[in-house]
Amino acid sequence: MAYKTVEEINEKIRAGKAVVCTAEEILDIVEEKGVKKAAEYVDVVTTGTFSPMCSSGVFLNFGHSDPPIKMSKVWLNGVPAYAGIAAVDAYIGATELSEQLGMQYGGAHVIQDLIEGKDIELYAESYGTDCYPRKEIKTYINKNNINQAYMFNPRNCYQNYPAATNSTNKTIYTYMGTLLPNYGNVNYSTSGQLSPLLNDPEYRTIGIGTRVFIGGTQGYVSWQGTQHNPEQGRGENGVPLKLAGTLALIGDIKEMSARFVRASVYEKYGVSLFVGVGIPIPILDEDMLIKTAVRDSEIFTSIVDKSGQEDLDLKVSYQQLKSGSVEIRGKAVRTAPLSSIKRAREIADILKQQIISSEFLLTSPVEMLPKTNKISKLEVRGKSNENN
């Protein structure tokens, strides 16, 4: 069954002999050559996505001032960062809002500004200790004068996201964009047949330690993402029908480009961050070839009513969503993507070129992603169970 190992593929990459194509180009290759020959011929399939991913943020280490401060509260350009870790460490989350500007500017904008090399105003307060006497500091930082700045995103690359609509008679504003009344539109967010986890639906090659393209540089899968839900119902092709796997990713923002990390604002919802991710998939055997040759017509998701009024749950393929119109309750409804397919293609193509030119080598996972894990809801209760 196995044709190649990751190490054999890497040898071909180092020798400049690897055959690499994107998850869209593979469709024509498999059509032309058939599964068996295509699996022998192709070594790596590259994927890509460029989507708003709220669960993103950056760890920073500012360096010590003289006299030193144990920063207990930190603001970056007026946006609060979490400082409840060591003295000059902080985490700036993408969705945090500016205390002065509200939704116009948030953590995602700070991250984009850092990547662009701009100066950021750092303001921090402390209660002062014997070893850290300073109680307040105001200065400017940028990515070149701080020690570390690495993105650590607890949840990226959601494997299959539901499309959103609105059954009520009022416009609603959501993280899935503006939803017009009376099923006025459907918004969906995916790069579909190019999407990383839809091309390795059962996590055979993507796992902990997998090297990835993130934000324009090379980073890694550091863990399962939050809400990782591998037990979701799946089609015969192994592709989940709803929300399933997720990835926690890590990468150095000093090496990133704002072309692949962009702050975004959703009207009356808040701030998010477009993150560009590309993951290479080694074609180990025919099964991986078949998995990467998945088409939009074979990937299904559900349309949900974001107003929460109707239990809609309509099954629809990404081919239908991408056609520009779907039918809801007998009415043709226009669809819009929220994820840039154009830039996802660019990422898959850059990754392909980097592998061809031996700049990017593949990795075997240090550990596989969990195959079992159920998502629980947050129970609301008045008192602790512990004293019962």
């Binding site: 460029f50 964009g177 503006t178 006025g184 918004n187 962009r262 520009g324 819009a336 993507p337 840039s340």
Partner: protein, 135 residues
Amino acid sequence: MKTIKVCVYFPPNTITKPLMYHLVKDYDLQVNILNADISLNKNGKLVADVTGTEWNIEAGLKFIEEIGLEYKLFTKTIIWQEDECVHCGACTAICPSEAISMDKLSWQLCFVKEKCLVCGLCVKACPLNVMCLSE
């Protein structure tokens, strides 16, 4: 010759002289209706591009007033800052005149300015602030 974009408001239960007929026949105006939602029992409106000589356009607008209708001229336009756009598509399905759409092959945003009603929905829907209303 010049072209203006105008929105004409129709209050409920109004039946006027045949507006289009007179604009075309009496004032020699080319009227391109971009959007119309008029019914007898509710407030209606019509958005159109109107092309003609300056003199005729002014006379035509005066005629609209004379038959008891109000109108508003669109002086602003939507500016798409294409260089900053990531072509996500969030502004497309909410565009009432389909002036903004996605090219299904390249997945690039297409903006046909002539079809734009300057409703401003795309300005709010754009997560990157690249759709702007001109001053």
